[in-house]
């Protein structure tokens, strides 16, 4: 079993990940970014011209196993290798998180003209129209798109919204790069659409309980790198 943890298997997996990612990226130019994102990049197996092929989550899962076995077999259990252990742990968890997020992550979209309200949002990239209920009603009271002077380029997208229901009644503002965080949900300015000749904001809504994970893993990986460099520096206590 530990043979699967060898660095030669790591090379093969890295090459396969590279090739699938390269092929998928090139395919995005032909069939659009979303078409590949929702198949090869997010499904364990996907169908291409009637042929089942392993998707990126499949290779990420195998890489996590390879890294786990490889670390257990090859890394010495000493203080000197503490940084390497942390780096490997972070990488394994990244692969697993990548696998998990790709399979279960769901994003919602909601386009609302000024004056309109909604208690539901639409699942992004769903093959058919699928809705999810929200624990609040979102209304858009005003929407503006300020532009740079003497230019048609928007400098921002600003929505004044109102959140009601469940004993709450709150007004807030959502801007590009300044999302609204509310009751575990995060509401972002995503794009615009035209409704009856009027520009209307489209929001992206996420409610990801595991949203902290990439931050925690990034911190873990960075900490591991720093620790490894400190332990490896010339003059460090052996």
């Amino acid at each position: 079993m530990f043979r699967f943890g060898s660095s030669k298997v790591s090379v093969v997996l890295l090459a396969l990940l590279f090739l699938e990612l390269l092929g998928g990226t090139l395919a995005q130019s032909l069939w659009g970014a979303t078409a590949v994102q929702t198949t090869a990049f997010s499904q364990v197996f996907f169908w291409a011209q009637g042929v089942p092929l392993p998707g990126l989550p499949f290779w990420l899962g195998l890489t996590a196993i390879n890294l786990s076995l490889g670390a257990w077999k090859n890394l010495k259990r000493t203080w000197q290798t503490a940084g390497l252990w942390i780096i490997h742990l972070a990488l394994i968890l990244f692969c697993l998180a990548g696998f998990g997020f790709a399979v279960v992550q769901e994003e919602l979209l909601l386009g609302l003209p000024v004056g309109a309200s909604s208690k539901v949002a639409f699942v992004k990239d769903a093959p058919q129209e699928v809705t999810r209920g929200l624990p609040f009603t979102l209304s858009v009271e005003a929407f503006s798109v300020p532009k740079y002077p003497a230019s048609n380029e928007p400098s921002d997208y600003i929505s004044d919204v109102r959140l009601t229901g469940g004993g709450i009644d709150q007004r807030a503002r959502i801007q590009m790069n300044l999302p609204l965080r509310f009751q575990g949900f995060t509401i972002y300015q995503s794009s615009v659409q035209t409704v009856d000749g009027q520009m209307a904001p489209v929001f992206k809504i996420t409610n990801n309980a595991w949203g902290f994970l990439p931050y925690a893993l990034s911190g873990l990986l960075f900490g591991g790198l720093v620790l490894h460099l400190l332990l490896r520096r010339p003059g460090a206590k052996k």
Binding site: A33, E107, P149, A150, S151, D156, M176, P179, S218
Partner: protein, 525 residues
């Protein structure tokens, strides 16, 4: 109607028919190049705006005649209707509009007259708006060029403003029709009218003095003296300047007598670094942002990092060959910055989604550092293969050590930079990772670099094989850095510009040919 507005309208009439003198002296346009103009979302010297318009309409970069051409138009001189000035890279666009032309690059005003109607230009732009093909991109670029021309013909519609007084950006026409003008506005309007009058009479010296006074007063009133001078300085030091220094350094390395060779090389590397630093500092001062915020600025910043490496290496005298490689990278990379400037303005205000500072700056700076290290490792890989094919193994230890070190740095910085990009994306767009082509590109670099390092660790490749794989990293880097922006897909396609695909694939093909040649040579030996 205000009498001044009538006078101004009369003066705007085409004047070539009146037998006016042409070809004003250079000093006439030099006096006006620093006049502050509000256009395209920012205040810039008139020279920058003229170059921008010339680039859009004629395709000429850094056109030295642009300022004169624009001032002539603003002074009311009619543009020659038969001079081929409008760039169209694909005549199929014109044929689709019912104009039967064979393929050539430039067309005259007279030839394009049927198209120069606002409704037709709008329809042309809409037709190609969502067309990602090369024809579609060229069609959209051409429509934007025609829009710019129409805006010049009708400055009231263009949003173009010449600053005439503090806090007020008005066209001369608006100012002429405005009641209750301040004293400063009245004085400036007087200067404008006098300048046009003198210019139309061919009294160049008087017009020049008037314009110099007008530009100086406008800059002073708006507190823009330093900003305008900085941008003019930036315009005056084009990329070619760095290339000239690079050529000189090549001369120095190759032909200068040995004792003074190092001094010469050191001086020139320092000069290149000084120019590159100047560009970055000007960029920061003019935009009020960190040095790297978009695709074009990554080339400037990465080039600067390469020049820092070159300077360190030259002063340590530890590897002149490596220093020259870093120097070449540092001198050539800014060229790509010019290629990817969207719309031709290097200081264009950012799109709303990029209108952030902290995480974006941290992400792009770190990932650019990673790109610089991977670039250096790829070039060192090329140098290793080249030297190996000429001299055989041996004497390559310093190159090998530098190659592995740059690979490790490249992997670490690109990885950390990509994670920081995830943080930025999560904060701004609501997801840490979205398999966007640009994100995939960064991951491709990470995977490739890790692969190369593991190839050596497993013993599947020796030094030559590892160097070959590292050299192939140049293609991976080019694809991830520029190629994905040419795909026209995803959030990051904001960096895409027309006609760059040929250059990109040309570079890839040239590199593949070079590496294939070295591989064949090794097999034959």
């Amino acid at each position: 109607m205000n009498i001044l507005a009538v006078v101004l309208l009369l003066l705007t009439a085409p004047l070539s028919a009146l037998g006016l003198p042409s070809s004003p002296p250079e000093s006439w346009s030099m006096a006006g190049r620093g006049l502050p103009v509000l256009a395209e979302g920012r205040v810039m010297p008139l020279e920058s705006w003229a170059r921008l318009l010339s680039f859009r309409i004629t395709g000429r970069e850094n056109d030295s005649r642009a300022t004169t051409w624009l001032l002539e138009l603003l002074a009311g001189f009619e543009s020659s209707p038969v001079e081929p000035r409008f760039l169209v890279n694909d005549a199929a666009i014109l044929r689709a509009e019912g104009l039967n032309f064979t393929d050539r690059r430039l067309y005259s005003l007279e030839e394009l007259t049927p198209l120069l109607v606002p409704d037709r230009v709008s329809a042309l732009g809409l037709r190609y708006l969502n067309d990602p093909t090369p024809l579609g991109q060229e069609g959209l670029r051409f429509a934007r060029a025609l829009e710019s021309w129409l805006a010049l013909a009708e400055p009231e519609q263009s949003g173009f403003r010449v600053f005439l007084a503090r806090g007020v950006g008005l066209t001369p026409l608006q100012l002429a029709s405005q009641t209750g003008r301040t004293e400063a506005q009245t004085q400036n309007l007087g200067l404008w009218l006098y300048w046009r009058d003198q210019s139309q009479k061919g009294q160049w010296k008087e017009a020049e003095q008037t314009m110099a006074l007008w530009a100086q007063r406008s800059q002073g009133e708006l507190g823009l003296v330093n900003q305008v001078q900085l941008e003019l300085l930036n315009n005056a030091v084009p990329w070619v300047f760095l290339l000239g220094l690079l050529a000189l350094s090549g001369f120095t390395t190759r032909w200068w007598p040995s004792p003074s060779r190092n001094v010469g090389l050191q001086s020139l590397v320092l000069a290149c670094l000084a120019v590159s630093t100047l560009w970055l500092v000007i960029r920061m001062l003019l935009t009020g942002r960190p040095p790297v915020t978009n695709l074009p600025s990554t080339f400037l910043f990465t080039g600067w990092l390469c020049l820092v490496v070159a300077t360190v290496l030259v002063y340590r005298e530890s590897g002149r060959g490596m220093a020259v490689l870093a120097l070449i990278s540092g001198a050539i990379l800014p060229y790509f910055s010019g290629l990817f400037v969207g719309g031709g303005d290097p200081f264009v205000p950012p799109q709303a989604v990029l209108n952030t500072n902290f995480w974006l700056a941290l992400h792009v700076s770190t990932v650019s550092g990673g790109y610089a290290a991977v670039l250096v490792s790829a070039l060192l890989g090329h140098a290793y293969l080249w030297n190996s094919s000429r001299r055989g193994p041996g004497n390559l230890t310093p190159l090998w050590k530098a190659l592995t070190a740059s690979l490790v740095w490249g992997l670490s910085l690109t990885f950390v930079g990509t994670l920081l990009g995830g943080v930025w994306a999560d904060q701004s767009w609501g997801r840490f990772w979205g398999w966007d082509p640009k994100e995939n590109g960064a991951l491709l670099i990470i995977l490739w670099t890790a692969l190369v390092l593991h190839l050596r660790a497993t013993g599947w490749a020796q030094e030559w094989g590892t160097a070959f794989a590292a050299a192939l990293g140049l293609s991976v880097l080019l694809f991830s850095w520029m190629g994905v922006n040419l795909l026209g897909q995803g959030f990051h396609s904001y960096g895409a510009t027309t006609g760059k695909a040929t250059l990109f694939f040309g570079l890839l093909a040239l590199d593949a040919l070079f590496l294939a040649m070295l591989a064949v040579r090794r097999v034959l030996r």
